[in-house]
Symmetry: C2
C-alpha cells in the first residue's frame, strides 16, 4: 500500500497496485491536463516529484510519493465561451445590504436585540431612494432574522458596535458585518454542464461579472454522459454521494479561484444560482437520479429548489441561499429553462427556435402563445467523444477544415501541430467531404473506385483504409506533432450522422407539433459553448441545423449561464423562470409514433 499526496491541495490517496500519476491524481479528485489522452506526447501533464519535473501520464506511482501539481497542468484549458447575451430588465436581487445604526437598549427602549435590528432595517429600507423590495415586497411581507444569526446577535452588538451592515435574503437577515460593507455585495451563477462547469462571480449591485472560472466537471471520471453517471449512482451504495461530493468539490475549487481573482472572501458570496440538466441539478442537490433513467423517465422535482449553502457543503456564506433553477422534465433541465429565460422567447410574438447542443441537444420552439421543448439523445460526438481522434476544443484540436483546389486546409487551436479533432472541425470536415463527394449523402465514405472522376489526386491519396474501412487523412503524419495521422473514419461519420439526425428529427417533430414549416421560423438561437465555434454553413450543410438564411441565425453564447446570472440578479427573472418551467410543453420523442420515421429520414445528409 502506497500513500500518494498531492500538493498544494493536500489530497491523499492510498493505492495497493501501481498506476500512473495521472490515474492516481484522478482518484484523488484532481483532473490533470492530458490533451494526448495519456500518450506521453503532449507534455501538458507535467508534475513535480522529488524535485524533478515529470510527465504524470508516464510516471508510475509505485511508492510513497509527494506530487506537486502546478496550475498550468490542471484540467483542460478549454476554449469555453463564458459569456452569453444579456436580457435583464432591471437589477433586483433577492440579496440586499443595509448599513444601520441600531439603537442601544435603554430603560425607555427595552425592545429585544432582534426587534431593534428589524426596526433599523425597515427604517433604512424605506429611507432609500426606492423602497428596498426585499423588505417591502417579500413573500411574507415582513423582515425576519435567521435562528443562526439570532444566536450571535447579542455578542455581535456588544463586542463590535451598533453600527453594522445587515445582509438579507428575501427579507430574512442572515448575516451582520461590522461597519459599512454595503459596497460589497456579490453572488455566483453556475452553469453545471455534464462536461464543463462555468462559475461567474457577479456584482449584485451593478450586475457586472467580476470574474469567471471554469473547469471540466469532475464527475467525468464516472462517465461522459448523464446515463453512465446515473448507472454509477444506481450500482454503488454511496454512488450518489460520491457524485455529489465531486461536483461540490469542483464548485468549491471554482469559488476559491473566483475569490483569488477578485480578492473577495468566500463568506462574502451571499447567494449562488445553478443551472444544469436535470441529472446534474439532482446530483448537486443530492436527489436520487435512478428514476431519470428508468422508463417512463421522470425527475424527483422540477420546481426550483432553495437550500442553504452549508447543507450542501458549498464554501460560500454558510447561510447563503443556493437557488437551483426550475426544470421541465427528466431530460429538459434547468439549463434549458435558463436558455429560454435568456432568449426571452416567452415574450416574443415571433416564432423562435433555440438549439442548445452540449452533451445532449435540447430544443425550444414557439412564441409567447406556446413553447414546445424536447431533448434529443444526440450524444457527445460533437464534444469529441466517441470520435476516433476526437478531443475537446483545446490546444491541438483541429477546429476548422477547408478543402479547396484539392488542398486540405486545417486550423488548429493554439496554432500548434494537430493532435485530434474537435466538434467544429468534425462538422467542417463532414461538410467539405460531402461537398467534394468523398462522403455520399447516405453517409458512406466512398471507396477509391467509386469516387467521382473530378476528385484531385491529392485528395484521393488521403483516402486510406483504417481497420479495413475507409478513412480520410485530415492531417498527415508529417504535419502532426507526434508523427501520427489525424483521421476521420467511417465510424466517425456514422456517429456524427446519428447525432445530427437526432437533433434534426427533434426540430422536425417540434415544427410538426407546432404546425409550422421551416420558413415560418423567424430566428434560430444557437446556444452553448459549442454553438459559438461552428461554422453555420457547415452545420447547415450536414443538416445539424436547419436550412435557414444566415441572417436568421444568432449565436447566443452560454445562454444557460446567462439565465442563471439573470436569476441571481433579479427577483422578476426568477419568477419568469418558474413560470417558464410550467409553460414549456415537454414533447417526449420516445412516445411518438412519428419520431422513428422522421429520424430515419433525417439520417441522410
Amino acid at each position: 500500500m502506497f500513500e500518494i499526496r498531492f500538493e498544494p491541495d493536500g489530497n491523499k490517496i492510498h493505492i495497493s497496485e501501481p498506476m500512473t500519476l495521472l490515474e492516481a491524481a484522478e482518484r484523488a479528485g484532481i483532473i490533470i491536463n492530458a490533451v494526448c489522452g495519456g500518450a506521453g506526447t503532449c507534455n501538458k501533464c507535467m508534475v513535480e516529484v522529488e524535485g524533478r519535473l515529470v510527465r504524470a501520464c508516464q510516471t508510475r506511482a509505485d511508492r510513497d510519493m509527494i506530487v506537486t501539481i502546478p496550475d498550468t497542468s490542471r484540467f483542460f484549458e478549454q476554449k469555453i465561451l463564458q459569456e452569453g447575451i444579456d436580457n435583464l430588465d432591471r437589477i433586483d436581487p433577492l440579496v440586499c445590504k443595509h448599513y444601520v445604526n441600531i439603537t442601544e437598549p435603554t430603560l425607555d427602549n427595552l425592545r429585544s436585540d432582534a426587534d431593534r435590528l428589524i426596526d433599523a432595517v425597515n427604517d433604512n429600507s424605506q429611507a432609500q431612494h426606492h423602497t428596498c423590495h426585499n423588505h417591502a415586497g417579500t413573500s411574507s411581507g415582513t423582515t425576519t432574522i435567521t435562528w443562526q444569526l439570532l444566536k450571535k446577535l447579542p455578542s455581535i452588538y456588544r463586542n463590535h458596535s451598533y453600527a453594522l451592515t445587515t445582509v438579507c435574503h428575501d427579507g430574512s437577515v442572515f448575516a451582520l458585518e461590522p461597519g459599512d460593507t454595503t459596497q460589497n455585495l456579490h453572488g455566483v451563477a453556475v452553469d453545471v454542464g455534464t462536461t464543463t462547469v462555468v462559475a461567474s462571480l457577479i456584482n449584485l449591485q451593478t450586475g457586472k461579472t467580476i470574474a469567471i472560472a471554469s473547469q471540466t466537471n469532475p464527475q467525468v471520471t464516472f462517465g461522459d454522459d448523464v446515463i453512465s453517471r446515473i448507472d454509477y449512482s444506481a450500482q454503488n451504495p454511496d454512488g450518489l454521494e460520491q457524485l455529489q461530493r465531486r461536483i461540490i468539490n469542483g464548485l468549491n475549487q471554482l469559488i476559491a479561484n473566483l475569490c483569488e481573482k477578485s480578492v473577495i472572501k468566500p463568506w462574502q458570496i451571499y447567494e449562488l444560482t445553478a443551472a444544469g440538466n436535470a441529472t446534474m441539478q439532482h446530483i448537486l442537490l443530492g436527489l436520487p437520479v435512478e428514476q431519470i433513467a428508468q422508463a417512463p423517465y421522470v425527475s424527483a422535482v422540477s420546481s426550483a429548489v432553495n437550500v442553504p449553502a452549508a447543507s450542501l457543503g458549498l464554501d460560500i456564506h454558510p447561510e447563503a441561499n443556493v437557488y437551483v433553477m426550475p426544470s421541465v422534465a427528466a431530460h429538459v433541465g434547468g439549463d434549458t429553462v435558463a436558455v429560454g429565460l435568456a432568449t426571452a422567447m416567452r415574450h416574443s410574438s415571433q416564432i423562435n427556435l433555440a438549439l442548445d447542443i452540449g452533451t445532449n441537444g435540447e430544443l425550444i420552439l414557439g412564441n409567447s402563445q406556446r413553447l414546445l421543448t424536447c431533448s434529443t439523445a444526440a450524444g457527445p460526438a460533437f464534444e469529441g467523444a466517441r470520435i476516433a481522434q476526437g478531443i475537446r476544443g483545446a490546444a491541438g484540436a483541429i477546429e476548422r477544415v477547408h478543402i479547396e483546389d484539392g488542398q486540405v486546409h486545417i486550423t488548429v487551436i493554439g496554432g500548434v501541430p494537430p493532435t485530434g479533432i474537435c466538434g467544429s472541425g468534425l462538422i467542417d470536415a463532414l461538410a467539405e467531404l460531402l461537398n467534394v463527394g468523398i462522403i455520399a449523402d447516405t453517409g458512406r465514405m466512398l471507396d477509391l473506385d467509386e469516387l467521382p472522376a473530378n476528385i484531385p489526386q491529392s485528395l484521393k491519396e488521403r483516402l486510406i483504409k483504417h481497420d479495413d474501412k475507409p478513412a480520410f487523412v485530415l492531417a498527415t503524419a508529417e504535419q502532426s506533432k507526434h508523427n501520427q495521422e489525424v483521421l476521420l473514419t467511417q465510424r466517425d461519420v456514422r456517429e456524427a450522422q446519428l447525432a445530427k439526425a437526432a437533433i434534426a428529427a427533434g426540430i422536425t417533430t417540434l415544427m410538426n407539433e407546432f404546425g409550422i414549416t421551416l420558413n415560418q421560423v423567424d430566428n434560430l438561437y444557437l446556444a452553448g459553448a459549442f454553438g459559438n465555434y461552428i461554422r453555420p454553413e457547415s452545420a447547415r450543410r450536414i443538416g445539424l441545423i436547419p436550412n435557414l438564411p444566415l441572417e436568421k441565425i444568432q449565436f447566443v453564447g452560454n445562454a444557460a449561464s446567462t439565465g442563471a446570472k439573470q436569476a441571481l440578479l433579479s427577483r422578476q427573472a426568477r419568477k419568469h423562470a418558474e413560470e417558464l418551467g410550467k409553460f414549456l410543453e415537454y414533447i417526449e420523442l420516445a412516445g411518438r409514433t412519428d419520431f422513428q420515421n422522421i429520424f430515419s429520414e433525417q439520417m441522410m445528409f
Copy 2:
C-alpha cells in the same frame, strides 16, 4: 477513576473522587427523589446496587458500580396541576395529513415525483368537507415539499406504493407514510418552567390531551432561579450549551414517557410548541442569555421562533417544527403571553388581572383597550426555596395550617408524617400567626413577653428560639417522621414578606399606571400550579393577592401550558399570540421612581 453506570437509562459517568450516588446520578443527568435533601431520612431515593436496595444519598460511589434506579425513586412526584382552562375557538393546527393516491408516471404524465405529490395533496385538500387551511391559506399560498423529503421521494414511491399519507406543516410536506395514517396526528405542548417542566401529548384532530408527563427542570442543579443559570452560562465557556443540553435531554425524557404512555412513536409527533420565561426559551433555543441579566435587561429575540426539531436535538420527527412562543421583554416571557392567550384578556371589555406566581411573579392587567404587564422578582420562596424547612409540594409537605382554640391543625400531602412546608402551607401559617397575633403587621415574630394576653398557653409553648431568633413549631418532633420539629422561622417570615411585597407592589404599580383602583378590577385570574393550592383567604390575609371578594377570584390552572396547547392546535391562536406579544405594554419596575415607595408600603402585612 470509577465508572458508575445507571440502569435502565444506560447513562455512564466517570468520577475521580468519591461522592454519594445521589450526587453521581445528578451528574449523569438523572434527578433522584430526595425529599429530605439527602439527609438519609425520607427513604425516597432507594436504588439497587449489587442486588441490594440502598439509599442513594447514603451510599458512596467509590468503585465501579452499576446502579439501577426504579421509577418510584425518580424526581419529585410533584403535585402539579397539569391542566388549565381551555379557550379554543376551533381546532386548526398548522400540521395536517392527507391520504393520497399518487398517479404513477406514464408517457402521458411525465410530471416530476414532486409535482404529482403536490397535485394529489391539493386535490385531496379541496375534496375535504372544508378546504384544508394549510394548503389554501398558507403564508406562501402554495404547497411545497422539503428538501429532506425530496431526497427520499423516489424511493418511497417505488419501494412502498403510491398510496401514501402526507404530513404537512403550513403547506410544506415534510413526511410521507405508507398507507393511510391520517388518524394518527399528534403534537406536544410544553411549559418550560424554571422549576418544573410539563409536557402534554395532544391529538391534533380532537384537541384532546392524550398523556401528560412532568419533571423537575434538570437545570435546577445549576441554580434555583433564572439569574443563577444566566450566571452559570456567563461563567462557563460551554455553560449555555450545557444548560441547553439539560433541558433538551429533559424534554426527550418527557417525550419518551408520553410515547410509552400512549403507544405512539417519537417520529409520529409532528410539532412541538413551548412556552417559558424568556430565559428558559432562550436556553431551549441556544440563544445567549447574558444580556437578560445585564442592565438594561433585554432579550435577544421576542418574536416567536420556529426551528426544526432535529437542529435542537429533540427526539420527535426530525423535520417537525418547534414553535417557541413570542414574549414581551427580558422578564416577561412566552409563558406570560401564553397566560394572556389562555385567559383571552385581549378580547375582554372587563378589567382583568392575571397573576402567575412561579419562581417569579408575572402580572397582566387591563382589557381589550390596553394590557399592561410586569415581572416582579418575587423569588422562589413560595416554591419552598430559601425557607428553612421549605420543600416542594410533594409527599410530606405541610400544605395547610389552621389554628383554632389554641390548637395547630396541619394537613400533610400524602397523609404521611410531615418533613417540611410547601408554599400553600407557608401562606396559611403566616396568615394564621398574623390572625392570632404571634406575628405583628411589621412581620416581626413577637417575643414571649410581647405576646397579647389572650394567646393560649398551647401556642406560647410552640414559640421557641432557633439560632437566637424566634421560631414557631408547626409540627412537633413527635408528630414528624424523623423526630425533628418543622419550624417557621423569623427569617422565613422575612423571605415571604419580601416576595409578597414585590408582587403586591407590582399590582399597585400596574393599577396606578392603568389609572384604576382595586374595586374596578372585575376578575383576578390565578395562574400556575401554585395558584391552585393556596387558600385565597390566607393569600389575601398576607397581602399576596389583592383584597378582592372571593367570587372575583378564578383559578385558571397551568395557563402557560394551556396557551402552548392552544398555539399547537390553532393557527388563529398563534396569530393572537404574536399580536399579544406586541400589544402587551411592558412596565419596567426598576425604571420607576414610585416603585420603591410602593414596595416599602407593601412590606407591611
